[in-house]
Symmetry: C2
Subunit: 395 residues, 2 copies
Amino acid sequence: MQQVKVVGVGMTKFGKFLDRSIKDLGVEAVQAALADAGLKKEDLQAAFVGSAVMGLITGQECIRGQVILRHMGIGDIPVINLENACASASTAFHQAWMAIASGLYDVVLALGIEKLYHQDKAKSFNALAAAVDVEEHAQGSKAQEGGLPSRSMFMDLYAGLAIKHMEKYGTTREQFAKVAVKNHYNGCLNPHAQYQKECTVEEVLNSPLIVYPLTLLMCSPLGDGAAAAILCSPQFAKRASSKPINVAATILKSGMERDITTPSLIERAARQAYEIAGLGAEDVNIAEVHDATTPAELFAYEDLDLCPKGEGGWLIDEGKTWLGGSIPVNTSGGLCAKGHPVGASGLAQIAEVVWQLRGHAGQRQVKGAKVGLTQNAGGWIGNDTAAGTVSIFTI
Amino acid sequence: MQQVKVVGVGMTKFGKFLDRSIKDLGVEAVQAALADAGLKKEDLQAAFVGSAVMGLITGQECIRGQVILRHMGIGDIPVINLENACASASTAFHQAWMAIASGLYDVVLALGIEKLYHQDKAKSFNALAAAVDVEEHAQGSKAQEGGLPSRSMFMDLYAGLAIKHMEKYGTTREQFAKVAVKNHYNGCLNPHAQYQKECTVEEVLNSPLIVYPLTLLMCSPLGDGAAAAILCSPQFAKRASSKPINVAATILKSGMERDITTPSLIERAARQAYEIAGLGAEDVNIAEVHDATTPAELFAYEDLDLCPKGEGGWLIDEGKTWLGGSIPVNTSGGLCAKGHPVGASGLAQIAEVVWQLRGHAGQRQVKGAKVGLTQNAGGWIGNDTAAGTVSIFTI
């Protein structure tokens, strides 16, 4: 298998764009990635397009990628539409990586896109509920009897995991709040972020309660947006105008039945990614992790081996994951501040890491970053994440 | 890139299964394919799961593959959920092929599954309408004003193409009817087929008019079902108990803007597939083509170069594509008689070709078949098929 390089990344600003179509958003991200690489649309040999629930919001199912790409005059090439809940974009990236690694193609596109906002917010929340085993959930949940949910069911799930972590390790709500403070601070430095407003621990704790222990500012918002990457062979990378970034490893896994002795999907994927990359957690300079809620960022610290089990709270207390710390996490603002258009998030994470490794991250640049990691998670099944990726990038 | 072998295929009977879940159907197909290969579920290293609109029917989006595979105790391995309208299953097969060809995996699963029936038939037809550019269609179609469609919009599309063919080449409704007669005859020989009832040209022409020139028996029905294949490396194939079938070529393309001088997606894909396989149309012994309506089978004869342009009607008149003819087409009964659970059809075609090339096709066996071809098409965009595949298999 040949090496794979990322030579272009691009994204729209994330936000609430009721008036923008999937074509508008998708084309903007693809054009930005092509411009970043100094390549033309005619160079693309295949396209991997991830999205999660926007079919339920916009009515466009089945051929989402073709609809977007045709709008910018791209046709004929294979278009593969992919879905893996909130890990749809990183699944698209993973398949794009395989397409280059196989030697079948020289240059391909990975695109992640989502339209999550709807005039009727209940429709958005209900769409997200399609990322679990809906049959099992309908049987087990009394919530279904009460009509439309007032929030994503994932918030209940994260709340339960957060409480367990608090009980087992003494993690506090203040620590969950500090992650939000950090990520909202970083979001202020990122022009693509949905929110650019600093907040304090008190403000996070006093923001509206979603479900104990989670408050509004500890949760990622609904969002619309798109993000893209151009991947190519080392040979083709010489034609790009940008500095190519290596994909040292990209691991995709699905959930499995597990007991307390079985590592989580993210732990299993991380171990494999480190092994393939020939690197350890201590080599990672920056990481973009899946903070759908802020407790999930603390879990990721531990699952990615950035700290021992149970010490996620300590890591944020010590400021290690802040800009200026030893291992800055979510310099982009993360899902909480940058936003979380679910089917786009995985590629937005990759865009941030590529910018950081190139030294192009502006005010939020981590000096001398050489190794970056992304962790994207999607859906829930049984007692594990349904789909998830860990990828490692090097200069 | 390494060679790729198909060592196991399996499918459910296609039909109307309001009481069967996606888990029931999916697991049955996967278990059948594993049993056919003489392999265990633990052997699978990745899964590529295609479906088109069943999310709109069942509510299960995002992680369809995980939900099905978990039900049979498969977890941890990468699960990639794919969508390409009626070409979803062959897109899953194409990606599974790439996964083996790349050398990344030794053995992987391709699964196609669909639940299309709904108590409210309008919901099924509306779901299929998501396989075009819905924004463009909503702008252009007055049908939208009149409420729910009484048939799939694709029938109107096929009817228009059929009329053009009749006007240009003198093709007749009797010829379209003959394709139905042939495929329903073949369906009687296939225990997996949704319909097992012979019909005459008169019966086809006198069946209810859907939209001129198409009658009910010229159209594929709504259907539920699943089909699966196990793909592996030549090395791993030695561990399988079945006779391995070679994937000589598998080409996936998307639609493009075109004028009368530009070949259709299927023509473009077929040319490339023949070139890669080092074979020509004259070498093909059997073909499974996408007869969503019977005129489409005639178009496929021409696009696949089984006959010159405009001579599709002649080919069916001469009996060439019947069992016993020089190039039997849709020995399975095709989409019209075997059924068309859209996201499963592409892999059901592949199952038929594998059985034929092994000599295991029972009463419908084509003697000495050595080269088989499948052609699967999905959606519509602009003036071309949105997604489509042509694959060639050899013994």
